[in-house]
Assembly symmetry: C2
Homo-oligomer: 327 residues x 2
């Protein structure tokens, strides 16, 4: 089996690659070839014995996307994307990468040949939804994004479904919740604090909380996100039907419950490293985001997130901190 990952140098792309190599396959099928692309050259995975092509490529350049699929990967994980904040600030860049990039890639697939229909896993986002919301967002809720990023993801979902319906590829779109705890340095994303208030205190560093503790949100770990991608690749057309863009499950908690969880798992001293510093802009942005999602269909199809926020924190401590908490 040949697997292509776009956006392979990103956090999720690297974790997906590592897991495929570690498990020596995808849903039980051996992988003899990996193609890894990103705007910077992705690292070749350690310990992999199959063929690897890893190279830098601009996803919005149709020659490059044609090259990516020219060797007919059986499964494509399309992760390449400009993130929400950047797509909002740089309108042209966001549309170029997130929309034109997707269109170029699926057109490249279509033009590769009538006998070529790869599995195509697309990472969408709950940013396709925009306030006002019902108590919990049902699977049948309409897409009214309030960002260009969410708009681009919503458009790609529609394209994915139509290209699948026409038989050009075998698509599945997964709407990721907020990924928490995101490893690495703090960034300036409006959502950054959801991870920051866990990651920084665990590392002995003070974190800033810019919103009220009553803010509610849905989270899944990077490990769950990778699990969603792998599970999605194993679903059949028959299981998916025409409605192949699925809201993923997650752990639904308030910020106050996140902090309580941190206290339970890591103690009072760690939990005290959070400083309240309300930020009107962040509060307003976060106020337009989805709080609860039903994710009924995804659960029925076997997608699994963590059971509790305690589990989310423990996963971070085990996987990213080698089990060590800064006292």
């Amino acid at each position: 089996m040949h697997v292509l990952i776009t956006g392979a140098a990103g956090m999720i792309g690297r974790k997906l690659t590592e897991r495929l190599v570690r498990e020596d396959g995808l849903n039980g099928q051996a992988i003899d070839k990996l193609t890894l692309t990103d705007i910077v050259k992705p690292a070749a995975p350690a310990g992999y014995t199959g063929k690897v092509k890893a190279y830098a490529a601009d996803i919005a350049d149709t020659k490059q996307s044609a090259k990516m699929v020219s060797e007919r990967p059986d499964v494509i994980f399309h992760l390449a994307s400009i993130v929400s904040g950047e797509a909002e600030l740089e309108f042209d860049k966001g549309y170029r990468i997130n929309l034109i990039g997707m269109l170029g890639l699926i057109e490249a697939v279509r033009r590769t040949g009538e006998d070529y229909h790869p599995k195509f896993v697309f990472t969408s986002s709950v940013a396709v939804f925009g306030a006002p919301f019902p108590h919990s967002i049902p699977d049948e809720f309409h897409l009214t994004p309030l960002t260009s990023y969410g708009t681009q993801k919503g458009i790609c979902e529609l394209l994915l479904a139509d290209y699948t319906r026409k038989g050009f590829l075998d698509g599945v779109g997964i709407r990721l919740p907020t990924i928490c705890v995101r490893p690495g340095k703090p960034n300036k994303a409006a959502s950054g604090f959801f991870s920051g208030i866990i990651r920084e205190p665990l590392a002995g560093v003070e974190a800033i909380l810019p919103v009220s503790e009553s803010v509610r949100h849905t989270h899944a770990t990077p490990q769950s996100a990778v699990g969603f991608l792998i599970h999605a690749a194993g679903l059949t057309k028959e299981q998916l039907g025409h409605r192949l863009n699925l809201t993923m499950p997650g752990v639904n908690v308030t910020v106050g419950e996140q902090i309580e969880s941190l206290r339970r798992v890591a103690g009072d001293k760690v939990a005290s490293r959070i400083r309240r510093e309300p930020d009107e802009l962040i509060m307003r942005v976060v106020g337009g985001w989805a709080e609860r999602v039903d994710a009924k269909r995804a659960r029925e199809l076997g997608f699994k997130a963590e059971d509790s926020f305690d589990d989310i924190i423990r996963t971070h401590i085990d996987e990213e901190l080698g089990g060590n908490i800064a006292a």
Copy 2:
């Protein structure tokens, strides 16, 4: 006021142009200039005293769309579209006109200048919805089109909302129900019989009914469709908010009720000119279409369709047949 109509040579485009000329304005504002474009040159309207530019242009050619907006029309009615059946058969052509054409036009608006934000009325369709449906489709129902045409319309709706949110234009999208009674010759559209079973018998010609009388659908006259366009152009950004793609109201009836209505309005002899000839393919296609729509928000915003199917038939007799029924 300067008004641009794309798709001006089509049935709705011509009726819209005629009405604007007849009323000598748009929602009470005088129109001193009309730009009319289509893939064939639209006819200049009779009796109009303002400036008219009517010319043939390919909407998907970005030089042409830039030309269309170069004189900064205050209101744009974007009607140009490849119809459902054709978009399904000619995949590239459908995407080229319905998606790339729209993208080119709104990009042309954006690039015309930061001080230019025209009212932009986009004609969408209930084809953005795909079965299975609840009893009646609510305004918050998700878009799961089962045709490339519906997909393209759904994508344009998302683009329209994002370009409006960013302040590049002042958009409103109206999802038209099936237009009935469509004047002119019978065509091969799967939906053609909805009009055919009224139009042909009234003209003394036999019509074929390919589906069961229990098939339910929502209809509005061409006159109502033009009314929707004009009403949409008069709505403010404040009235619309972020959710600016609206499902239009219509008269909801079964085919049996359509025929009963024809009998009431035109008599038994006319109603007897319908021959039942079941067509499996048409039955299957029509089975995926929306039956009932709530259109709650559109009604609240003042959009009005006919009150009954009798009214729909009477409008056809008055407007298209000069009051005459073939005995």
